[in-house]
Amino acid sequence: MAKNHKVLDVESIVVKFAGDSGDGMQLAGTMFADISALTGNNLSTFPYYPAEIRPPHNTVAGVSGFQVNKGKSVNTSGDQCDILVCMNPASLAAHLKFTKKGATIIIDTDSINPRSLEKAGYSVNPIDDGSLSSYTVIKAPMTSIAKDSCSHLEIDNKSAERTKNMFALGMVTYICDYDIEKSFYVINKKFKAKPTLALANKAALKAGYIFAESSELQLSRIHTPKADLEKGKYRIITGNEATAWGLLAASEKSGRKIFLGSYPITPATEILMELAKHKSLGARVFQAEDEIGGICSAIGASFAGAMACTTTSGPGLSLKTEALGLAVITELPLIVVNVQRAGPSTGMPTKSEQTDLYMALFGRNGEAPLLVFAASSPADCFYKAYEAAKYSMEHMTPVILLTDGQMGQGSEIFRIPKMSELPPINPPIVAANDENFKPYVRNEDLVRGWAIPGTEGLRHRIGGLEKTNGAGIVSTDPHNHEQMIALRAEKVEKVAEHLPKQTISGDEKADTLVVSWGGTYGEVFSAVKELCAEGKKIAHAHFNYICPMPKNTAEILSKFKKIVVCELNSGQFANYLRMKHPENTYLQYNKMQGLPFTIQELKEHLTKIM
């Protein structure tokens, strides 16, 4: 008995699944993303989860969530949610503050009891005390109905109860005006190897769909239009997967075997796990005994001629700093991926921040310049990892690629490129028996040759001691040292001649330029776009090449009267700009809460200072 629920058309909506760790929220969320993609929506996702594996049951600390922003044009995983699924009171306590007024909240009433309310910090039941009066609250006994829905199947009680996440997904399928067949299709794929569980999950999903459909509430079904994407083949990809794939692509394109030396660390581990899966592409993946072992094995592999990488997060990069200097002085290619998280020290391992910029730029003894790149979004990780590898090999220098936990573990739609579309990678490999070979003979870009052990006529020794330019003999000659410092810096600076120029979006004739870098792209781009649509004069420059900076940076910055640098730290990029381009004045907008910017707060702040 379908009620006459009206269907609203909106550009995009944000859906969040929240429950206890172990309630299957990450699964429900990723499946919702898959269904959205099949329906033709654009999307971006972000998982919220505690650092612990199974924290105390029903506590706020134990809430695991998965947020999906989906619709026509989507650049972020969303500010606040329009639909919140709560599998227990703690989920409500944890996520109500990130929920829009007027949103639809679905709650499992089977989970509500004096004990669970107390653990979530409620003295009275929030769904009865009027505190949720500005929301549409759907009370659903999810656990019991889900369990009943698969009573005809031969599965144990626990498995039957666990289908409650699919019950929730069924309700959301209805509210989002999705075709239930698409949801079944996704379940069938996910549980291909376990047909009984597939049946149980479909039964629960259907029960959830019917429950929502027959609701007496003044529900609105929310429909979003298809994505405005260019034609092509697409998939969903997380930032960490995309990073791993970008590295594999660079290895294939350059013809250099890929070596990864790494040590597990949140939120970077998925890159190591992903590459470990791809031995068929020749990936040599070495899980080292520690972070130092990760980078040092990679330096050894690079000396031996491999495209060598190490992946980590902030505390791991701290441990790797001495070895980074070794890669700088030996002038070997080395790709270091730092998936930033909130620091200092262990900090907040599952929360995102942009606070390792200073360390990437300056965190080494001696003068040790290297390339620093930053990716914008999950899908962009593919291209930035590819470029990091390309410029590192072609210019014989280490590179640090900065991503962050938010983009590493978040996902979005990725247009699948063809390998033939990607730019060539030509490392300066020295030919056998090259008579002019000496370790530090340089080309016009000041790049030395890559002389690979095993090659006839190229025996040589390099290492951490300063060497003479050209011949590469151990030397403490004062003028040689000064020259080598200058050459290493100039070599890195010269990469700018090969990098893409900096672009701006928004109103190029505006007085105000908003500057951002790395993982804040989606939020800042969207805020500026919305302000422009509201008639405000404002422009946006988003930086991905941090060191060296694009050649036209000074020119772009000089065109604006006001420059506002927005970043998730206390002003590291702003201070870097003050150092590199002191002729301008820089205003700042900063946030250090382990959370991304919201479009709303950016708009409010930018409007105030314009």
Binding site: S280, L281, C296, S297, F303, K418, H460
Partner: protein
């Protein structure tokens, strides 16, 4: 096995000599330093092995020992303190066709790089580690090391050290090492034989060289090197031979109820038949550990190849897994990967 069996590393088409490996760099170790003997030994061993000269790679860390790569004309990499073993791990995994040698010391591998040391041993990567053990920090001018004996008076232990030293052999056995040998810088012929055996072994070979530091720790190994004492304190092990030693070859090692014991031949009816016969290939490291632990004055020190047991090597397994995956995976190139799993046309 012989070197001819190792098909992964190309052999030189012409016979090589010491001159092929002498570098043009001035050797800057102190006159009388034990490291000179090690360099001489390697200059003999490398041509004898017969690999192409481009297929040798020497990796080192920091310390007197670690200047070694500059003095041999091969591919060489002088790393940072403590990291030689793990840098070499990357070299060997990236290119298994290289004969990889590591020059390291008791500071480099037993202290700052202890972690990498036990793990390279555990993995059984096919590389050769030369551990220059002079029981002192030389390049920083005379501080105690993790192998300095308890009570050693050094610049940082003026009243004597108050910590127990590591015995590298015990660490190797504890980390499930497959090859451990010990030699002395005063016996170049023995050192060369041992290095050759290390090169022949498939897996991580650790050669501990009891090395004299003439400046900061002279005569540290006097008990086993001095003319008067050495014969009674050196047990020269040979595979398949009874463990007999002493000035007059009248002492031997037997396996007693509580471990190894020293006995005198001809006394109490003991004959050569009662003496323990050395089996370096024994997989169980029990006896090897007991041998590695022997030390004067009660026991002789065991020299030669103490353990050479056959186990799979890490680098072989890496190649095996890659070859298996290449044969069995549908993903043959990155385009396959990009188009694998759930995709859709828009």
């Amino acid at each position: 096995m012989s070197f001819e069996d190792n098909y992964t590393i190309d052999r030189s088409e012409v016979p090589l000599t010491k001159e092929d490996f002498v570098s043009d760099q001035m050797v800057k170790w102190c006159p009388g330093c034990g490291a000179h003997a090690i360099l001489n030994s390697i200059e003999k061993v490398f041509p004898a092995i017969g690999y192409k000269k481009e297929n040798f790679c020497i990796v080192s860390g920091i310390g007197c020992s670690s200047r070694f790569p500059y003095y041999v004309n091969t591919f060489g990499f002088h790393g940072i303190h403590g990291r030689a073993n793990v840098i070499a791990t990357g070299v060997k995994i990236a290119n298994p066709h290289l004969s990889v040698w590591i020059a390291t010391g008791d500071g480099d591998s037993m202290a700052i790089g202890g972690n990498h040391f036990i793990h390279i041993i555990r993995r059984n990567l096919d590389v050769n580690i030369m551990l220059f053990n002079n029981q002192i920090y030389g390049l920083t001018k005379g501080q105690y090391s993790p192998t300095s004996p308890m009570g050693a008076k050094t610049k940082t232990s003026p009243q004597g050290t108050i910590e127990q030293p590591f015995n590298p052999g015990e660490l190797v056995m504890g980390a499930q090492g497959t090859f451990f040998a010990r030699t002395i810088d005063t016996n170049p012929k023995h050192m060369t034989e041992v290095m050759f055996e290390a090169a022949r072994h498939d897996g991580t070979s650790l050669v501990e060289i009891m090395q004299n530091c003439i400046i900061f720790n002279d005569d540290a190994h006097k008990m086993i090197t001095s003319r008067e004492l050495k014969d009674d304190h050196q047990l020269m092990l040979e595979h398949g031979k009874p463990m007999i030693f002493g000035k007059n070859n009248d002492k031997g090692i037997v396996l007693g109820r509580m471990g190894l014991e020293v006995v005198s031949l001809g006394k109490n009816g003991i004959t050569e038949k009662d003496i323990l016969v050395h089996d370096m290939h024994q997989k169980d490291p029990g006896i090897h550990l007991m041998l590695a632990k022997l030390k004067p004055p009660v026991y002789p020190i065991a020299l030669g190849v103490i353990r050479a047991a056959s186990f799979p090597t890490y680098d072989d397994l890496v190649v095996e897994q890659i070859e298996y995956a290449k044969e069995n995976s549908n993903i043959k190139c990155v385009d396959d990967l990009l188009n694998s799993g759930d995709t859709w046309e828009f």
